[in-house]
């Protein structure tokens, strides 16, 4: 019974990790690559580690496996947010077909302070872009 569970869990985990590898190679943009690494790879690794915990069937090893899974589920979003934030600050461009950039003109370039005031939204650059989008949908 547990062997069938191990077959299923390792198959799905390997498929998700393979999808993450293909996505990292094929995605056109840094931010889309970050989203692939956070979701698909974390789910695949969780399934593979869970199959290892089922195979050994010992309470100490199961606790260790659950600790690794919990640690990865906690640290993957934090690391993805940190690397995405710093790469947005260093000026890496979005994909040219992406429709909107919510952070545009909302932070000061020297102090790296984010603001979400109404004044900052209505700066001339953003309104011009919105007009262009409305004229040429």
């Amino acid at each position: 019974m547990s062997e069938i569970l191990i077959y299923i869990l390792t198959s799905f985990g390997a498929i998700f990790i393979l999808l993450a590898g293909i996505g990292v190679l094929r995605m056109p943009d840094l931010y889309l690559r970050i989203s692939v690494t956070t979701k698909a790879a974390t789910l695949g690794i969780g399934l593979v580690l869970l199959s290892a915990g089922i195979y050994f069937n010992d309470s100490s090893i199961t606790t260790r496996v659950l600790a690794i899974i919990l640690f990865m589920f906690l640290t993957a979003p934090v690391g993805a947010h940190l690397i995405g934030r710093s790469s947005y600050f260093t000026g890496i461009q979005l994909w040219k077909k992406s429709l909107m950039d919510d952070l545009e003109g909302k932070y000061e370039k020297k102090t790296h302070v984010l603001q979400s005031d109404e004044k900052e939204v209505e700066n001339p650059i953003a309104t011009n872009k919105e007009d262009e989008i409305q004229k040429n949908p």
Binding site: L18, L30, A41, L49
Partner: protein
Amino acid sequence: MNLYEFLYYIILPILSISAVLVFIRFLLGPSLSDRVVALDLLITIGIGIISIYSIVTNQPTFLDIAMILALIAFLGTVAFSYYLEKRKKNE
């Protein structure tokens, strides 16, 4: 086909192929942040390969190394993002 042959001949090659794909992105990556993301994913795939090996060789001690690798991956990502931001600020 028993469980060990299935893990050894099907699951491990799939994980190796995905590691090779990520390593191609690590070599290509146009910016430094792409390389950091690819390195993070490489270490994550390494954790999966270690856990499959611990099933095949029936040694649960390898899972400790997987835990340490997860720690090192997180610390590396945090340090790289911190110093990327610092470097841009000094220029």
